[in-house]
């Protein structure tokens, strides 16, 4: 029943808006997987979800569910579950009636509805709340009911738009775990919109970074951090602290730090990126070892923020909180080849090394 989602060069410009909200958005979400759409506010991610749900009509492109274009179908025929930032429970119905709503719209047999509602109340850990009014529940409980309601009719696709961002940080973690649990039980293809990169990488097996109305990168979370597709993606993911200009050739990157080994397809001038967490202190490996002088150490409690200079360049790195480093120390830094990536320098020149 669960189906894949294909977005085919979606364009959208709101009436009277100067710039398009979405530009040639193409995305494939395989059936049964979880993809997060990660982007800053205003990147068009909510519009994208609204288009898939059928609440907004795009100005161009196509949306296909299970291989069929659904653009001409109204929202109620698209077989979706949608959970938005607000729970939007129907205030005049009980919790059980809320969960049963989608099944009732599909004229499901009563006994089946009762069984399914009980099953979902169990799944979201609210078995005793069936007859409560939705207004009597806490925010987290309401969102759990909203999740159960969206899944009740076993939709082909589950769409979530910042579903947990109104909740306490602690509760958010529980909700992510619950979502993963529900996904394991139901196997519904899930598209999750969020601005929070931890949430995206935690919830999804693939992340599509939406910047400025287009998909800047679509990859598994680890690759997103290790191999950002562009400086903009790296910046958004907080990985542009170390951006070193140089020239790439097959297997090498030549820059003031030396000729570093790495694996890149990039050719010619570019920026070398390495996340502060990926730099290893005082490691004597054969390749990519550079001498450096520590210039500043800030103790953040959970880790140390360290600044070092090497060949006139400033490098940012983080280390374990007990690392014996002091300003003025001379040390050796290892830049692991698997953690290095090269992106094109942006057209407008910005400082090569940027503070996070």
């Amino acid at each position: 029943m669960t189906s894949d989602i294909i977005l085919d060069n979606l364009d959208h410009t709101y009436p009277e808006a100067a710039a398009p909200t979405l530009r040639q958005v193409a995305l494939h979400v395989p059936a049964g997987t979880r993809t997060a759409i990660l982007g800053p506010s205003g990147s068009g991610k909510s519009t994208l979800l609204s288009i898939i749900a059928g609440l907004t009509t795009p100005t161009g492109g196509d949306v296909r569910l299970a291989g069929r274009s659904v653009l001409r179908q109204p929202p109620h025929r698209r077989d979706l579950g949608v959970v938005l930032q607000r729970p939007l429970l129907f205030p005049h119905l009980t919790v059980a009636e809320n969960i049963a709503f989608g099944l009732r719209m599909r004229r499901t047999d009563r006994a089946v509805v009762r069984r399914r509602v009980a099953e979902l109340l169990d799944a979201v850990a609210l078995p005793a709340y069936a007859d409560r009014r939705s207004t009597e529940l806490s925010g987290g409980q309401q969102q759990r009911v909203a999740l159960a309601r969206a899944l009740a009719a076993r939709p082909a696709v589950l769409l979530l738009d910042e579903p947990f961002s109104a909740l306490d940080p602690q509760l958010r973690g529980d909700m992510r775990a619950l979502l993963a649990e529900l996904h394991r039980r139901e196997g519904t293809t899930t598209l999750f919109v969020t601005h929070d990169r931890d949430e995206a990488t935690d919830v999804a097996d693939h992340v599509a970074v939406l910047l400025d109305g287009h998909v800047a990168q679509h990859a598994p979370p680890a690759q997103l951090f290790r191999r950002p597709a562009s400086l903009a993606v790296a910046r958004f993911l907080g990985g542009a602290a170390n951006a070193i200009p140089g020239t790439a050739r097959a297997g090498r990157f030549d820059c003031p730090l030396g000729s570093l080994h790495l694996d890149t397809n990039h050719q010619g001038p570019g920026l070398l990126l390495i996340r502060p967490e990926a730099i290893v202190v005082a490691e004597h490996d054969a390749v990519n070892v550079i001498p450096a002088a520590i210039t500043a150490v800030t103790d953040r409690g959970t880790h140390l923020d360290v600044r070092a200079t090497s060949a006139g360049l400033t490098l940012h790195l983080t280390t374990g909180p007990a690392t014996p480093l002091r300003p003025g120390d001379e040390t050796i830094l290892w830049l692991p080849p698997t953690q290095l990536s090269v992106v094109a320098a942006q057209h407008q020149q910005r400082p090569a090394s940027q503070q996070r």
């Binding site: 749900a53 929202p75 109620h76 938005l84 129907f90 719209m105 969206a150």
Partner: protein
């Protein structure tokens, strides 16, 4: 020993009941002589009390030759039609006003107040000419159509306030759960509108029930409602007892409706009604 309660000055104790009694007298006072008048055929100035009680007025008002039963039926029929249509139109228009950013929204709201602002006589005279030309004069349909604008305006103003308190996102959520647009409205918004809808329907009915001028001019004397019969009896027969009896009949539906509506609305959140928005 009973517990000692702090004494309040007598004036403060009496203030509330006094105000209540005075207000009740002010509202109901004019109706009291009417209630007496309907049950006597001899009550002369300056007597404070009628000389003789009689049911002659009632016999005349509801007797065989009387047209009161017919007038009440006509009034109820027209009132029900106007109430149903105005409530439906007011609900649709109120939704548009409250939920959509309409150009010239303020102007529309001003136009909706027009039935209150424009002297009814001017409207009725103009309406008569239009309805005559359209061939709708002298018919129940014509009267219903003529009464509808004012009733719809009130219903719209009221319902736009009620709609403003309903979250449009709920209907969208229902759509994603498989509800057609109409079902989404019926299942999510309508239950929240119920209180306001009751009041709007009641208002529209009462506007129709008490209308005299439009019914007289558009109905052309063919359509006889309770107010028309009342005026005709008062002016034509000079029979004060019969007139008083008809007047009492005319008061019953408003009182009944108000009581029913009050019961319906008891316990509901009155802020939902949007009154005093």
């Amino acid at each position: 020993m009973t517990a000692r309660t702090p004494r309040r000055p007598l004036g403060a104790v009496l203030a509330r009941p006094t105000v209540l009694v005075l207000a009740a007298l002010w509202v109901a006072g004019p109706l009291l002589p009417l209630a007496v008048q309907a049950f006597t055929d001899q009550w002369f100035y300056p007597d404070l009390w009628p000389a003789r009680w009689s049911l002659a007025g009632w016999r005349q008002a509801v007797g065989r030759q009387s047209r009161l039963t017919e007038a009440v039926a006509t009034s109820i029929g027209i009132g029900a039609a106007v109430a149903a249509l105005a409530a439906a139109l007011g609900t649709a228009a109120g939704r548009a006003l409250a939920w959509h950013r309409l150009p010239g929204r303020r102007l529309i709201e001003l136009v909706l107040l027009a039935p209150v602002l424009v002297p009814p006589f001017a409207v009725a005279m103009g309406a008569q000419i239009v309805y005559l030309r359209a061939g709708l004069a002298d018919s129940v349909t014509g009267v219903i159509l003529a009464q509808l604008p004012a009733a719809t305006a009130y219903a719209t103003l009221l319902m736009s306030g009620v709609w403003a308190g309903v979250d449009p996102a709920l209907e969208r959520q229902a759509r994603t759960l498989g509800a057609t647009p109409w079902r989404a409205f019926r299942e999510t918004s309508l239950p929240q509108l119920r209180g306001g809808l009751t009041v709007a329907t009641m208002f529209a009915f009462l506007i129709s029930w008490s209308d005299y001028l439009l019914t007289l001019l558009i109905g052309g004397g063919v359509v006889t409602t309770v107010p028309l019969l009342l005026f005709a009896t008062a002016a034509g027969s000079g029979n004060q007892a019969a007139t008083a009896a008809i007047a009492l009949v005319a008061i019953v539906p408003p009182l009944l409706l108000t009581a029913l509506a009050a019961r319906q609305l008891a316990g509901r959140d009155t802020a939902l009604l949007g009154v005093g928005r």
